[in-house]
C-alpha cells in the first residue's frame, strides 16, 4: 500500500515542503498539517501511516531548540503519538523534529531522574551548515535498513547529543539504538559517541540531526560537478538521503 505521511508543521517549521517532496518521490502521499489542527483533534493522525516532524525553528527555538513544541506534544499529544507508534506505524524527526522527539520524551522516556539525554548547543557555540559522512550501526532502525553509510548536510546550532551520564548512553548503545553516527574525525558538534541519530526501542521511531531530504538529487551533493557523469542523464544518481524515505515507504509495501 502507498503510505500516507503526515508532515507536521508549526510556527517556524521550514523544511516541510522539501521533506514532503522527498516522501512523494519515494512513493508516498503526503499532507502538511498545522499543529493547531492536531491540538484541536488528535484523531487526525488515524488516516496516516507515517508521522514526520521536519526541520526548522519551531516557535523560534525560543527557550531551547524544539522546547516549546515538545512541551505542547507532552501535554496534549503524548497519548495520540504513543497510540500511533503502538499501531506499528513510523515516526521520523529530522533536525528540529529530532530535537522535539527527544525533548518530548517520545524517543526516550523520562525516568525518575528526568530526561535521559538531550541535544545541546554545539561545541562551537555556533550554528553550522556543513556536509558530514555518517555510518549506520546495527539493523534496528526501519529507516536505515540496508544503508551502511550516508553523506548528508547538517544545519543546526543545538545538535550535540548528550546523555545524562555514561550509564544511560551505555544502555542505549547496548540496545542498539545509537543507530547513526558521525565519522569520528568529522563529529561536527561534539556529540557524545559521535551520535547523529537515535531510534526508540521499536526501531520505528527515529530522530536524526542531518537532513536526508537535502540529498535526494545528485545536484545537491557539494561535489557533484566533479563527477564525470554530470554530463550524462544517468538515472541511478539519486542522493544518499533518498534511501531513508524509500525504506519508510517500503515498510508498508
Amino acid at each position: 500500500m502507498k503510505p500516507n505521511v503526515l508532515i507536521l508543521r508549526a510556527p517556524g517549521t521550514n523544511c516541510d515542503i522539501e521533506t514532503a517532496y522527498a516522501f512523494e518521490l519515494a512513493g508516498a502521499t503526503t499532507k502538511r498539517i498545522h499543529i493547531n489542527r492536531l491540538l484541536e483533534n488528535s484523531a487526525l493522525t488515524d488516516e496516516f501511516q507515517i508521522l514526520c516532524l521536519p526541520g526548522g525553528f519551531s516557535y523560534g527555538d525560543d527557550i531551547a531548540a524544539g522546547r516549546v513544541l515538545a512541551n505542547q506534544v507532552r501535554h496534549h499529544l503524548s497519548n495520540a503519538i504513543h497510540r500511533f507508534r503502538d499501531a506499528g506505524k513510523l515516526i521520523l524527526g529530522i533536525c528540529n523534529g529530532f530535537q522535539i522527539l527527544i525533548k518530548s520524551g517520545i524517543l526516550l522516556a523520562d525516568d525518575a531522574q528526568g530526561a535521559g539525554a538531550t541535544l545541546a548547543w554545539n561545541r562551537s557555540g555556533m550554528y553550522t551548515d556543513r556536509w558530514v559522512n555518517l555510518t549506520v550501526t546495527g539493523d534496528k532502525c526501519v529507516f536505515l535498513r540496508n544503508i551502511q553509510s550516508m553523506y548528508l548536510p547538517i544545519a543546526h546550532a543545538e545538535g550535540k547529543f548528550i546523555g545524562r551520564n555514561d550509564a544511560v548512553v551505555d544502555q542505549l548503545e547496548h540496545e542498539g539504538r545509537l543507530v547513526l553516527k558521525y565519522r569520528h574525525d568529522e563529529n561536527p558538534n561534539g556529540a557524545m559517541r559521535d551520535v547523529a541519530g537515535l531510534c526508540d526501542e521499536t526501531g520505528r521511531v527515529f530522530g536524526l540531526m542531518p537532513h536526508p531530504e537535502r540529498h535526494i538529487d545528485r545536484t545537491q551533493h557539494p561535489r557533484w560537478t566533479r563527477d564525470l557523469r554530470v554530463h550524462t542523464d544517468d538515472p541511478a544518481t539519486a542522493g544518499d538521503g533518498m534511501a531513508v524515505f524509500k525504506n519508510a515507504v517500503e515498510y508498508f509495501a
Binding site: 498545522h34 523560534g60 516549546v68 557539494p222 566533479r226
Partner: protein, 1005 residues
C-alpha cells in the same frame, strides 16, 4: 511577586558564553585577565508559588541534562549572587523591545497551569578581575547595547515588570502657519522630520491655504512620504551636472539613466524581453518559466546597523524578505543575499571615536543578525561578499537581498475602492519610530541617544507565520493587493496603496504591543513583521478565519474610499485629512549641483600605508610569491567561511552550486545556483559585483567593474547572459556636496552605458545617501568621515538545465588552462597596489563589445560541456584566480606567462609599463599575474575538447590564450620567458593563509 531564575551550565558542561565573552574582552583590549561566569535567566511576575516556579524551571526553562538553575524571589536589596563571586551585571531588553523568548515562555507555562502576569529574559554575568570602571566599560562596550538593552550593576532596582499606562486621546496641533524660517528649521530638526527649509515652507503654504494648522500626525505623514528613504528625492530630483561627459541637466536623474537603460534594453530585446515589472513594485519581476516569475530586491540597513548591529541587520534582512512577499500578490522568498562593508576587525579600542562600536562587535552582530533571521525564516542565504575599509568605521554598510518566486498570473496587484484595509502580522510598538526620516540623516556620536527608537529587533517566526498565511490566502484569492510595512510603517504602506484611490483609517484599531501609544506613534511606528492588504468585504471572514487558525493576528484598519484623500480617525476624532495628491506630488523638487572630475592617470607611486584606507595586509617583499600570500590574506580576498557556514544555504532543498565548492567544500564559488522548484531542472543564478577601492580613482571604472564582475560571476557557473537581470544599490556619502553627488551621477551614467551595451536590464535598485560619520572629538568635528562610493551590483541569471553548471575547482591533472580575455596594464586600485602601498595607475576599464562577446562565448563553451572548471578573475588577477582553482580542486597548476601579451590600458592613457622597485622584465609578469583587468576568466579544458573550444572563441573574436595546465603536484608554478620561474608556492601554503585571515573561530574549538 517577582521571581528570578538563573540558569547555569552544569558543572561538567562548558560555559561557552562566559569563556567567549572573556576572550572578546581581551580581544577588544578591555581587560587582560578576566574571570567571567554567565547565566541566562528569566524574571517571572505573578501570584506564583516557589513550587510552580520550580516546575516551570525544571520542566520547561532549563535543560536539566546540561544545565543547573537557581531560583530566587526578587526583593529590593537582596543578594542575587547565587553564592558566586564577582561583580554582578544584568543585561535586560529595554521595556517594549521584542523579547520573543519571554513571550513564548509565558505561553508555554500555561500548559502547566502556571499563569504569569509578565516574563522577561536577561543575561547575567559575574565578573572577577575588573575594577568598577572596567566593569562599566565592559558592559558598555561588550555586554549590552544601550539602544535596546538596559544594564543593571548589582541587585535589580525594581520588583515588578509591568509598564505602560493607558493612552488618553488629545489632539496635537502644530502652529506652523505662524512660524518663521528659523522656527521651521528648528521644528524639522527637533521633530526629527529631516526636511529642508524649502520643503517646510511648502507645507506651511499648504496649510495657510487650508486656513488651519496641521496636526502632528499630518506633519509626520508628509515628512515620511517626502523622506529620502521613501521618495529618493535627491537621485530622482533635478541635477545640474558637470563631468567628463560634459554639462548635463537632469529632471529626474534616475529616470534618465538607470530606468532609461532598462527601457532601451527592453526595446532592443523585442520579443526576447523577459522583464515583467520593473522599478514599480517592491521588487523587480522577470520571467522564469511558463508558470512562474522571479523577483529580486536588495535593500540596505546601514544606520540602524551602526547603532545596533544585531537588530539592524536582523531587521534589514527581515525587511527585504517582505519586499518580494509584498510584490504583486505576494512571492515566496527563495533565497537571501548579504553584502557587508566593515572597518577591519583589528582596530585599537583607544582609536575609536565616542559613539562608535568596535568593528569586531559590529561584524559579529551583523552576521548573527542576518543568520538568525534568514535561518529561522527557512530561506537559504546563498550569495554575498564582505569588504573592508577604515572609512566604514562609524558607518558600516549592510546590504540584504531577497529573491521570490511568484506565479505568472499573480504578478500584479490591484487595490480596490471599497476594499477593507487590513493589517496582518506583528503588533505595533514604539520600535522604529522615525526610521525613514532617520535613515536620511547623517550619523553623529549623539545618534544613539537621539534616534535609539529607530532601532528594532525582529521576530522571524512572526514573519514566517505571516508568510504561511499569505501564500495560502493568495492562492485562495482572498485579497486584491498586498504590500509590506517598511520604512514609514502604516503611513507609507497605506499611503502608497491608496495613492490613486483614497483611504480612511481608524488608528485605534491598530493592535499594540503595550498601552500608551499615541495615535501618531501607532501610525508612524516601523515595528517589524507587518503587512497591509486590500481585502474585498466578502472575502474578509475567510481571511480572518485562515489567519486565526494559524495564530496570526489580522484586523481591519479601515477602507479604501474613492476620495483621493487620506483620512485618519482616532476614537471617532479626525486627526488627519490630507490630499493624496499633495502628499505624493506636492514635494518641491530638489535641485542640486553635481561635479565630477576624475584624477589624471599617473604611474604607480609608493605612498604611506595610512593613505590607503582599504589596506589590511602589506606584502613582506614585492616578490610575486610574497605578494600573492599577502593578497590572499587581505580581508577582502580571504575566505569568508566563518560567515558562510553560519548560514543555512541549503534549506528548501534546491541547492545546486553552494557558496563553498571543491574537494573539501571550501573553495570560493563564483555564484550560487539553486532550483527554485524542486520538481524542475531549471536553475536560478545569483551573483554580485563590487569594488569600492576603484571608486577612489574613478567611480566610472568602479561601476563598469562591478557590473562586469556580477555578470562574469553569473556566467562562470553557467548563467545565460541573455536572461540576466541586474540591480543597483548606491551607498554614498553626503550628496549635498556637489563633488560627492557628481561621483554618483558619473556612476549612474556608466550604469546606463553598460546595461545598454551588455543588453542586461536593471530591474530594481535602491540608494542610501549621507553615509558619513561626524565625530564630536576636538579636531575631527569638522571632518566627517565619509564612506567611499560603494556601488553594489547584484545579478540574477538563469540556466535551462542545472546539469550544465560548472564550479571553479580544478578537476583533473593534464587538462589545459586557458585565459579568456586580454590582460591590460591595469594595476590602479588593485590588490597588488594595495599590499605594496602604491597609488596611481590605471583602474580596470571595460571594453563593452568585447565583454559582451566574451560572456556569450563562455556560455556556449559551458553549454557544449567543453569545460571542467571556470573561475572569474577579479581581485588579485590571474595569480589569485589560479591559486584558488588549484587549492579548491586539491591539485596544482602550471602557468606559462610568456603566452600572455600585455596590452596597454587604453588609448587615452598609454602609459609605459613601470612599477616602483620592479625591473622591466618582471614588471611584465607582475601585470600578467596581478592586473585586475575585467571580462576575464580562467578555464580548464580537457585536451580532447580544446579544438572545439578554441573554435568558439576564434569565431566570436574573443582573445584566448593557452596559459597553462592542471598539474598533479599541489603547487602553483608560474614561469616566463626562458623557463624563468616567477612564482612557486605549495597550494597548501596559499590556502592556509587564505583560510585563516578572516576567522573568528567557533569551528571545532
Amino acid at each position: 511577586m517577582l521571581w528570578e531564575v538563573d540558569i547555569f551550565a552544569a558543572p561538567d558542561q562548558p560555559d561557552v558564553i562566559g569563556k567567549d565573552t572573556a576572550a572578546d574582552a581581551k580581544d577588544l583590549g578591555l581587560s587582560e585577565d578576566l574571570q567571567l561566569e554567565f547565566a541566562r535567566g528569566y524574571l517571572i511576575e505573578g501570584n506564583l508559588t516557589q513550587e510552580q516556579i520550580e516546575t516551570a524551571t525544571t520542566r520547561l526553562l532549563a535543560d536539566m541534562v546540561v544545565e543547573r538553575p537557581v531560583i530566587m524571589q526578587v526583593q529590593m536589596g537582596a543578594d542575587t549572587s547565587c553564592s558566586r563571586s564577582g561583580k554582578v551585571v544584568y543585561v535586560l531588553p529595554k521595556p517594549g523591545v521584542t523579547d520573543t523568548v519571554a513571550d513564548n515562555a509565558k505561553k508555554a507555562m500555561r500548559d502547566f497551569q502556571i499563569e504569569a502576569d509578565a516574563v522577561r529574559t536577561f543575561k547575567k554575568y559575574w565578573i572577577q578581575g575588573a575594577t568598577d570602571d572596567e566593569t562599566k566599560r565592559l558592559a558598555q562596550k561588550l555586554l549590552a547595547n544601550d539602544a535596546v538593552e538596559q544594564t543593571v550593576f548589582g541587585a535589580l532596582p525594581f520588583d515588578h515588570l509591568q509598564f505602560g499606562t493607558p493612552y488618553k486621546f488629545s489632539l496635537v496641533l502644530v502652529g506652523i502657519r505662524a512660524m518663521s524660517d528659523g522656527e521651521l528649521e528648528a521644528l524639522s530638526k527637533k521633530g526629527q522630520l529631516f526636511l529642508s527649509l524649502t520643503e517646510m515652507r511648502t507645507i506651511k503654504d499648504y496649510f495657510v491655504k487650508l486656513d488651519r494648522d496641521p496636526t502632528d500626525i499630518e506633519l509626520e505623514t508628509i515628512a515620511q512620504t517626502w523622506s529620502e528613504h521613501c521618495s529618493h528625492k535627491t537621485l530622482a530630483g533635478r541635477i545640474s551636472y558637470s563631468g567628463p561627459e560634459g554639462n548635463l541637466t537632469f529632471n529626474n536623474m534616475l529616470k534618465e539613466t538607470i530606468f532609461a537603460a532598462t527601457v532601451q534594453v527592453r526595446k532592443n530585446l523585442g520579443p526576447l524581453d523577459f522583464c515583467v515589472s520593473v522599478f514599480s513594485d517592491n521588487a523587480g519581476v522577470v520571467t522564469f518559466d511558463k508558470e512562474y516569475n522571479v523577483c529580486f530586491k536588495v535593500e540596505t540597513h546601514n544606520h540602524p546597523s551602526a547603532l545596533e548591529p544585531y537588530g539592524g541587520a536582523n531587521t534589514g534582512i527581515g525587511g527585504v524578505i517582505r519586499d518580494p512577499m509584498g510584490t504583486g500578490m505576494g512571492a515566496k522568498p527563495i533565497c537571501n543575499t548579504d553584502v557587508f562593508c566593515f572597518a577591519p576587525p583589528e582596530f585599537e579600542s583607544s582609536d575609536l571615536f565616542a559613539g562608535v562600536l568596535h568593528p569586531k562587535r559590529v561584524i559579529k552582530g551583523v552576521v548573527a543578525g542576518v543568520r538568525d533571521y534568514g535561518n529561522r525564516m527557512g530561506i537559504p542565504t546563498v550569495n554575498g561578499a564582505v569588504y573592508f575599509d577604515r572609512r566604514y568605521l562609524g558607518n558600516p554598510l549592510v546590504y540584504c537581498g531577497n529573491v521570490g518566486l511568484i506565479p505568472v498570473d499573480q504578478s500584479f496587484k490591484h487595490p480596490q475602492s471599497g476594499d477593507y484595509i487590513v493589517a496582518m502580522g506583528g503588533r505595533t510598538g514604539r520600535d522604529g519610530i522615525h526610521g525613514a526620516t532617520f535613515s536620511s540623516a547623517e550619523l553623529t556620536s549623539e545618534s544613539e541617544t537621539l534616534s535609539g527608537g529607530a532601532v528594532q529587533i525582529g521576530n522571524a517566526i512572526t514573519e514566517k507565520m505571516m508568510l504561511d498565511v499569505l501564500l495560502e490566502a493568495r492562492d485562495r484569492g482572498l485579497y486584491n493587493a498586498v504590500t509590506d510595512c517598511g520604512a514609514g510603517g502604516f503611513s507609507s504602506a497605506v499611503g502608497e496603496m491608496g495613492e490613486k484611490i483614497g483611504a480612511e483609517v481608524n488608528l485605534d484599531a491598530i493592535p499594540v504591543k503595550y498601552e500608551g501609544l499615541s495615535y501618531t506613534e501607532c501610525w508612524i511606528s516601523e515595528a517589524q513583521e507587518r503587512m497591509v492588504f486590500s481585502v474585498p468585504k466578502d472575502k474578509w471572514p475567510e481571511l480572518k478565519a485562515l489567519a486565526e487558525s494559524e495564530d496570526v493576528e489580522t484586523v481591519i484598519l479601515g477602507e479604501f474610499k474613492p476620495t483621493g484623500r487620506l483620512l485618519l480617525l482616532y476614537e471617532g476624532n479626525t486627526v488627519a485629512d490630507l490630499d493624496m495628491e499633495f502628499m505624493h506630488n506636492g514635494r518641491p523638487p530638489v535641485v542640486r549641483q553635481a561635479v565630477y572630475q576624475t584624477e589624471a592617470v599617473t604611474q604607480l607611486v609608493p605612498v604611506d600605508a595610512a593613505a590607503l584606507p582599504g589596506l589590511t595586509v602589506t606584502a613582506a617583499t614585492n616578490e610575486p610569491g610574497d605578494v600573492l600570500l599577502a593578497i590572499v590574506s587581505s580581508l577582502n580576498v580571504a575566505s569568508k567561511h566563518w560567515v558562510i557556514r553560519q548560514y543555512d544555504h541549503e534549506v528548501q532543498g534546491g541547492s545546486v552550486i553552494k557558496p563553498l565548492v571543491g574537494v573539501q567544500c571550501d573553495g570560493p564559488g563564483d555564484a550560487a545556483v539553486l532550483r527554485p522548484r524542486v520538481s524542475s531542472r531549471r536553475g536560478l543564478v545569483i551573483s554580485c559585483g563590487m569594488n569600492p577601492h576603484y571608486g577612489d580613482y574613478d567611480t566610472g571604472c568602479m561601476t563598469a567593474s562591478a557590473i562586469d564582475e556580477a555578470v562574469r560571476n553569473a556566467v562562470a557557473v553557467g548563467a545565460n547572459p541573455a536572461t540576466l537581470a541586474i540591480l543597483d544599490n548606491f551607498c554614498w556619502g553626503n550628496t549635498d556636496k556637489p563633488e560627492v553627488l557628481g561621483s554618483l551621477v558619473h556612476s549612474a551614467l556608466v550604469c546606463r552605458e553598460l546595461a545598454v551595451g551588455f543588453g542586461i536590464p536593471f530591474v530594481s535598485g535602491k540608494d542610501s545617501l549621507n553615509n558619513e560619520f561626524r565625530p564630536k572629538e576636538e579636531g575631527f568635528r569638522d571632518h566627517p568621515i565619509s564612506i567611499p562610493p560603494s556601488l553594489l551590483i547584484s545579478a540574477m541569471g538563469q540556466v535551462d538545465d542545472v546539469k550544465n553548471c560548472v564550479t571553479m575547482d580544478l578537476k583533473e591533472a593534464g587538462n589545459l588552462l586557458y585565459q579568456i580575455g586580454e590582460t591590460k596594464n591595469e594595476l590602479g586600485g588593485s590588490h597588488y597596489s594595495l599590499v605594496n602601498c602604491l597609488r596611481g595607475g590605471q583602474t580596470p576599464t571595460v571594453d563593452i563589445d568585447t565583454a559582451r562577446r566574451t560572456f556569450y562565448a563562455v556560455h556556449q563553451a559551458i553549454n557544449e560541456s567543453l569545460v571542467r572548471s571556470v573561475h572569474d578573475m577579479s581581485e588579485g588577477g590571474l595569480a589569485v584566480c589560479a591559486a584558488e582553482m588549484a587549492f579548491a580542486g586539491g591539485l596544482g597548476a602550471k602557468l606559462w606567462l610568456e603566452h600572455l601579451p600585455v596590452a596597454s590600458a587604453n588609448e587615452k592613457n598609454n602609459l609605459p609599463l613601470a612599477i616602483p622597485d620592479v625591473d622591466d622584465e618582471l614588471a611584465q609578469d607582475v601585470v600578467r599575474l596581478f592586473s585586475e583587468s575585467n571580462s576575464r576568466f580562467l578555464v580548464e579544458v580537457p585536451i580532447d575538447c580544446s579544438r572545439q573550444f578554441e573554435k568558439i572563441f576564434a569565431e566570436a573574436n574573443v582573445p584566448l590564450y593557452q596559459v597553462g595546465k592542471v598539474a598533479e603536484a599541489p603547487e602553483l608554478v608560474a614561469t616566463s620567458n626562458d623557463e624563468r620561474t616567477v612564482l612557486r608556492l605549495p597550494t597548501a601554503t596559499i590556502k592556509a593563509a587564505w583560510l585563516k585571515a578572516f576567522d573568528f573561530g567557533g569551528e571545532y574549538k
